[in-house]
């Protein structure tokens, strides 16, 4: 009994640790892009990126309120604090266009990533 529960804990531990492992952090981004948030809008609101590449996106929030970058199609969700910065890794994306929004200001904060 004691033995089995130890074994099970080991399994749980392995599960949690493997979930955490930075398997390929050496996989550097191919391209680095920048974007700002100002008056609850993204600038530029349209980003043209090469398809099938890893992209590092730096976002700076110039507003006095926080924003949440969210994209269902690119699977991203990240808060950018008021006056703060955030880094988001995108891709590799198949050719196509991918919407993103600022979830806290969805009416004005809208944008598109176009992968070609």
């Amino acid at each position: 009994m004691r033995h089995t529960s130890t074994k099970l804990w080991a399994i749980a531990l392995v599960l949690s640790v493997t979930n955490f492992l930075p398997v390929s952090s050496a996989f550097a981004a191919d391209l680095e892009l920048s974007m700002v948030i100002k008056n609850h809008m993204f600038d530029p609101s349209e980003l043209k990126v090469p398809a099938n590449q890893r992209i590092k996106l730096n976002i700076q929030n110039l507003d006095k309120t926080a924003e949440e970058f969210e994209s269902h199609s690119m699977k991203k969700e990240k808060v950018i604090p008021a006056g703060g910065k955030a880094v988001i890794f995108l891709g590799p994306l198949k050719p196509g266009s991918y919407e993103f929004i600022g979830e806290f200001n969805p009416k004005t904060a809208k944008g598109l990533v176009i992968a070609e």
Binding site: A12, S24, T65, H72, K78, E103, F104
Partner: protein, 284 residues
């Protein structure tokens, strides 16, 4: 005004559904209400703290501090849920028996209540911090009056809690024996959902960049931002367009927990069987 309430509702919904399922799965445990309320309260307090620290957190580790905190929260919650699943499969029979014998309260389950209270706190913390940032943002720069703002935020939270309560009440119609079977499956799926979110976080932070391709996309049938998608996400981790890595993590977590729980159950029944035979064969 309406829009703000809806955003608060969307942020609250996931945590509320989570708490609803956990509350249903612990029906009849002594101190349950106390433990889970503590979890919600601590989570709410923590979310105020986390929201106020978000600027610092974001700057950690070259801009991926949020992902580190998120992954830590998700992993702790996942381990706690795994522990609960294994514990329940080990004790469910006793729980059902006791619940029947002494009405509703059962003295079993202190440990798992702790585990679940932590899960509840972490779930509230994660969603709560975003809500706090959103509402405080509105307060700082909005044309809305404070009264309007507070009432719409409360309406959003109240609506979210109603949804969580509906799930809880719905599960309440199930008989005790079946209830634990069903909530155990729901909790197993929630564990899968957490694992899938860990995969998403790991990709976003660039820890794992393999299997980042979309596994499927049904967002034209069920739009990702629809209430249906949100509710299904809150209950079993539905994702309209997951990456391959998310699917792998989801299935791996479920399979591992299920196998571990089953092994435990098998081992125990085997053990008990052995003891009984042994007792039986001892001459008086």
């Amino acid at each position: 005004m309406f829009g703000a309430g809806i955003i608060v509702f969307r942020e609250t919904l996931e945590a509320a559904l989570f708490v609803g399922i956990i509350a249903a799965s612990t029906r009849g445990l002594v101190n349950r209400t106390h433990s889970l309320s503590m979890g919600v309260a601590l989570g709410a307090l923590g979310s105020l703290l986390m929201a106020s620290m978000m600027g610092h957190i974001s700057d950690w580790a070259n801009g991926i501090g949020q992902e580190i905190v998120d992954a830590a929260i998700l992993t702790i919650a996942l381990v706690m849920l795994a522990w609960h699943c294994i514990w329940v499969s080990n004790n469910s029979q006793r729980m059902v028996q006791e619940a029947k014998q002494i009405g509703s309260a059962t003295s079993q389950g202190h440990q798992t209540l702790w585990a679940l209270a932590i899960v509840v706190a972490l779930s509230v913390l994660r969603e709560g911090a975003e809500t706090v940032l959103f509402v405080s943002g509105l307060m700082a720069g909005s044309t809305m009056s404070t009264g309007e703002l507070i009432s719409s935020a409360f309406a959003g939270v109240a609506l979210g809690i109603c949804a969580g309560w509906l799930v809880y009440a719905g599960l309440g119609f199930i008989k005790t024996r079946r209830l634990f079977q069903i909530t155990n499956i729901l909790i197993l799926l929630l564990a899968g959902s957490l694992a899938s979110q860990i995969a998403k976080t790991a990709n976003q932070a660039d820890w794992i960049s393999v299997f980042g391709e979309q596994a499927w996309d049904v967002s034209h049938l069920i739009p990702s931002d629809s209430i249906t998608a949100l509710v299904m996400h809150g209950i079993f981790g539905f994702d309209a367009s997951p990456t391959q890595l998310q699917v792998i993590f989801y299935l791996t977590a479920i399979t591992m927990i299920w196998t571990a729980a089953r092994q435990m159950k098998f081992h125990n029944s085997h053990h008990q069987g052995f003891n009984n035979t042994h007792k039986f064969s001892v001459p008086n």
